[in-house]
Structure formats: C-alpha cells, structure tokens
Symmetry: C2
C-alpha cells in the first residue's frame, strides 16, 4: 500500500504567512478596512537595479538566437557568476572562498530546506527561538522531531551562546530574521570554536548580509578563524538585489568541510551537496544568473547599495517612531527588520494594528515561543507607505 511520510503530519498545517493572509482577508471582508499597508512578509517593493534589468534583457536576447543560446547550464551555476561571487563577496573582504566552493541555486529557501538531506536522521539539530520556520519544518519533514531551541531574548541581545548546546548542527542567521539582531565576530567565533571542538556543523544563513553597515560586524561566517572546517553559508539575492520574484542565491561549502560515516570515515560535504544538486536540481535560469552577475558590476553595486540604504532609512524611521511611542525596538540598524516588544500577546497586537491602523506586521509568536510578546516590522515598502504606517500606528497606540 502507498504509505505516506508520516512526518509531514507533525508539522503545523498552516504556514505563518498563510495565517496572516487569512486574517488580512477576513479584515478586508469586514468592510472596515482602509487601504492596507503591508510591513509583514518581508517582500521587497523596489524595482530591480537598471544594471540588472539591462543584463536580463541581453540574456533574453541571447536565448532568442542560435548564436548565444544557452540550454542546460551547470547545475552548480555558471562560472561567470561563481567567479564574481568569490571575488567580490569574499576575496574583497579578505575571505578565501574558491569559485568551486560556491553552488548557485534558485534561492536560499530551497538551499536551507534541502541541506538537511545530507545528514543522518539521528543528528541533533538546534535552532534559535524565534526562528525562520523553514529550518525546523524541513527537519521535521525528514523525521528529526527533537529539535533544540536556543532562546534569544533581551537577556542575551537575541544572540545565543553555544555554552550548553549539545547539537550536531546549529542553524544561525545573522543579521537575524526575525529579530534584526547581528552577531559580533567574537560571538560567531565562539560558535565556530564550539563546532570544531565537537565535529559539529554551523549552517549559517546570511541572507541579510547586504544590510550590514556597522564596520565591525562580520558579513560571513568565514571571517572567523577555523570556519572552513565547520560551516556552510547561504546567501540570497532576494533582499540584496530585490530578487524575491527572480529567484537566485548560493551556498558555500568549503572543500575541506567533512561529515562522518558511522564507521568514522570522513565524507566531503561539498561532494555530497554537489551530488544532491546535480541529481535533484537543474541549475538556476540563465537569464537570472546573468542578472545576478550584473549586481557585481560597478553600477550594479552602486544601485543595489542605494536601494538597501533606502530600506535602512525606512527601518530607522520605524524604529525611532516605535521608540518614541514608548516601545522597546530592536534591530533595524544592520537589518531591514525592527523587532518590537509589544508588552503583551503578539497576535493581539498584530490584530490591533491590522484592525485599527490597517497595517500588517508579523506576530513574533509565529516564529516560536520566545517570539511571544514581540512583533516584526519590515522596512520593505515605499517611503510614503512607511510614513503613513507610522502615522497611523502613532494614532492608534
């Protein structure tokens, strides 16, 4: 008989953002809704950089003729893109990552979700609480139900310490989604030392790296000494360059990084991830990869930086407005997310802002128990909408 994977029954049937959509839809049906301003899901609103769209037009033209037509590309990504990534995201910051240690994909969500396939079902997994749900759900779907939660609250500045963590794999995301917290180099180094000491792995999600403006904050786990033997890093162009609808990201797996067979033999994780990707994936779109390459042109870098500066200014406005209303607001400095202590249940506060201010946020409780009492406000919107949302919120609170 056709038996299902019963682990699917152990994940919550609705995804956080589906619940939010349904509450928003219900509010709109109530007839009391003004124009809704969405500071919830964290989708970008600003257009792609002109350098990127120019490159994509050219790539579409390539696909329109026999001469420059590109069919199947390398599953690992085109060399032209991997070279740029190695040079500009890593070498330019003094980090030695080779192009062949970079595997391009159709987005960090896929990579974050798929990476757990490389490991035995008996590995112990730890995540932060609050957490981006994908790390948890994809492990539960694979049969790993006993996941350690590392509490992140005001008491530790939303950055957990490895001191009492006995997991084999930890997922860390900095700048953090949802809290907007960043980790210092010393804090990340502690995790790297912990991982190396116990043959453990850090899965480092650096999707929001481009928002870092504070000089001392590391952009990559590979800025820490020893990270090449204990870390995998994911990057995304979704927030960096507005690629949420275009779909591109990459994963870095250093050549010397290993995991272990039951008999103790070491196994290259780069070889395993390459095998996973070449077997189950067929590369990111050529047009997308040409667009991503253009992010690294001088104009592309200037244009994407300017869009991120714009979102960061939105974040500053939100953070300062909430603070002036008497709420403790975290994040929003090296991050597009402001994490607000709402002094009560987060879904109640969410409903209040939705119903009274017609502003959509994300309730912290949706990211885990330790998110209870907070909401996440995203800086992804036009200046006009952000100012209007601040104005409405100020009138309500």
């Amino acid at each position: 008989m056709l038996h299902v994977n019963e682990n699917y029954a152990r994940i919550k049937p609705t995804y956080l953002f589906a619940e939010i959509s349904s509450r928003v839809a219900e509010h709109q049906k109530s007839g009391n809704a003004e124009r809704i301003i969405r500071l919830g899901i964290g989708d970008v609103t600003e257009p792609l950089a002109p350098a990127v769209t120019a490159a994509m037009h050219k790539a579409v033209d390539d696909e329109a003729g026999r001469e420059n037509f590109h069919g199947y590309g390398p599953e690992q990504g085109y060399q032209f893109l991997r070279d740029k990534i190695a040079e500009i995201d890593f070498a330019a910051r003094g980090v030695d990552i080779k192009p062949n240690e970079i595997l391009v994909s159709d987005g960090a969500k896929c990579d974050c979700g798929n990476i757990q396939e490389l490991f035995s079902n008996d590995v112990k997994v730890a995540v932060t609480d609050p957490v981006y749900p994908v790390y948890v759900d994809t492990n539960v779907m694979a049969g790993r139900h006993d996941i350690t939660l590392l509490r992140c609250g005001k008491e530790n500045g939303f950055v957990p310490s490895p001191s009492s963590c006995d997991a084999d794999i930890v997922y860390l995301c900095f700048p953090n989604n949802p809290t907007g917290a960043v980790a210092t180099k010393a804090q990340l180094q502690e995790w790297v030392d912990w991982a190396n000491a116990g043959k453990r792995l850090i899965i480092f999600d650096a999707a929001y790296e481009a928002f870092i403006r504070t000089d001392s904050i590391p952009h990559s786990i590979f800025e820490c000494s020893g990270a090449r033997t204990c870390a995998i890093e994911m990057r995304s162009y979704s927030k960096t360059a507005g690629f949420t609808g275009v779909r591109c990201g990459y994963t870095v797996v250093p050549s010397e990084l290993c995991a272990y067979a039951a008999d103790g033999t070491s196994v290259s994780l780069k070889a395993m991830w390459t095998r996973r990707q070449t077997t189950k994936f067929n590369g990111a779109s050529y047009i997308t990869q040409r667009g991503a390459e253009a992010i690294y042109s001088p104009e592309g870098m200037e244009q994407t930086k300017s869009t991120i500066d714009f979102y960061l200014e939105n974040a500053r406005l939100v953070r300062e407005a909430l603070a002036s209303l008497g709420y403790e607001a975290f994040g929003g400095v090296d991050s597009p997310y402001v994490w607000v202590d709402v002094k009560g249940p987060s879904w109640d506060f969410f409903d209040r802002l939705l119903k009274e201010a017609n502003v959509v946020t994300t309730p912290g409780a949706g990211f885990g128990a330790a998110g209870e009492g907070f909401i996440r406000i995203s800086a992804f919107n036009s200046r006009e909408n952000v100012l209007e949302a601040i104005d409405r919120i100020s009138r309500v609170l």
Copy 2:
C-alpha cells in the same frame, strides 16, 4: 557527531553525462578530434520562440519599475499560467484538470526528484529498465535501495506490463527517455487499473508529450479512466519550448488522490505536495512564468510546434539513416530520441562513434542493464549538424 546520510554512498559517484563529458574531453585532448557533433545529452539547440522572448522582455520591464513589480509569487505558480495550462494542455484535449491541481515549478527534474519525499521509506518502488537515472538515484538517496526494474526490450516494444509488478509506486515516462517508445491508451489503462486495484501510485513523466504526432497516442495519463485516483503527472517546458536554460515545468496532483497513513487513514497528496513546495521552494521566476504563459498564445503555440516539427524531422533522418545502414532503430516518431540496436556493447559503440566520427551519442548501458546493446541518438541539433553526423556515421559503420 555529524553523521552523514549514508544512502548517498549507495548511488554511483558519477552521473552518466559526467562520464560522457570526460570521455569527450579525453578524445579532444588526444589531438585526433575533428569538430565534435553532440547528439548526446538531449539539450535543445533552437532558440526560444519569439512570442516567449517578447513576453520575457515585457516581464523584465515589469521588474524594472515599481508599478508592475512582482516579488514573491505563489509557490504553486501564478494563476495566469495555471489557468492556461488547465485550459490548453488539458481541457482542450477533453481532460478535466483544475488550475488548483497544477503546481508550477522550476523544472520536471526537481519535481521528479522531490516527489518521493511524500512517501514512507518502506514503499516499494518500480522503474523501467532502461530508465532516466533521477527516479532511481533520488529514491536511493532517501534510503529505498530495493527498486524493482521492469525490463523494456524489443520483446515488449519497450513498454512494460504491470502483470507481475508488486510495487507501490511505479515511475512511467512516455514518450520514453531514453527509448523513444510511446505507450498506447490501452497500455496505460492497464497500469491505471493495476494502480487503482492495489492502492498504488503512477508517477507519470510526460516531459516529451509535445512530440506526440500519432493521433491515437495519449498525451496525458489523465486520458485514462480512473487515473485521477492513482496518478501524478509531470510536464516540462524544457523540450516543449526550449526551456532547458530557462527552467519551468509543472506537476499535476488531482484533488482526490490519496496515500495512506499506517493506521489506514487517507491523506491528500495534493495537500502534501503543496506543503512540500511551500516549505522548501519559493516559486519559479516571474519572468520565466510569463515566458511560459506565452507558449500558450496562438503565436507561441505555432512557433513551438514548428520547432518540434523541425526536431522530429531530424529524428526521422537519423532513424532512417541508421535503418539503411542495417541497424534496427526504434523511437524517433513521437519522440526526439532514436534508440538503436548496436549489436554489441554500447560503450564500445559510443567510443567508436566518438573517436571515428566525432559524434557524441549516449550509450544505452548508462540507463540500465537492459539498455546494454543500444545507443540513444538525440534529434536536438541543427539540420546541418544532423546531416553531417549522419554522413560521418555512414562512412564509419
């Protein structure tokens, strides 16, 4: 300790096409190579249809401004595309598939690889031999090592019968890769009846559906009566519309299709696949989906049909040339692949064509034991190259 998924060690370390590439590279290094003509991997060579590139240019322009910017789309695909698929790929052929039973993805390879996640590790899987390796490798990677092989040879016209098959899941691909064989409606109906009788599932890969020209051959498993309760179908724009580098396909999961929990409870597979995709995938590129939509415009349909006709004429030329040289050649009628009985070991024949004719084919043995003694010749190339390849092969054989 960080234990690996040891199932990865049970798949062959190199993928068929990697082995071919390495033999080609070695031949080129030998200094004896003329210009190589590739009739191997099955990648398309003709450009995208003008209707498609026009739609993609427009979509890039959408992404270049705030007004029509598209960020995160539905993970299941945009409604505009799902509606067209339901209407033109199904309703127009008398098949009732609803748009909400269609999940758009970045390609059939991903869907074929990921679908097995929905099932328990104890389900019994059957595949044809020869077979597209992805069905096997992805099951082995998940821990299903004991896979039943359904021999496809001249004796059964390369279409297996379900009579002695006791698997829970069977992967069927028609028009077939690699043999180019098609299944009649009666043959598929036998499989559907077998599946329904035993609460089994057919995973039907219809990636080459657009090559069918014989009226009586079904384009979809859902043309068979009862298929809605026992089948999932995958489609791809890779060969249909030259999207190998653009990446788009879709999977059809009927609403009433179920699998079973250990206690016998039925579970909707559409709900499970939706959960899988919303958790681990973030939708196909907006630009890609706009391109795919344009395939269904009157011009798009005419243009893509004309390209497929062109490849089919290539296939005819190859098939007839091989036949006139005294080789039994199969397929190549409703399929871009010609499957040739080479009267000896297929890797030897591959090497001979590579070294003496500088033509790359695919050795049948690479698709399974029953592929030994055959080679696959692909019709994906320019007319000039196909004629030149035929000429060279004729001089060698």
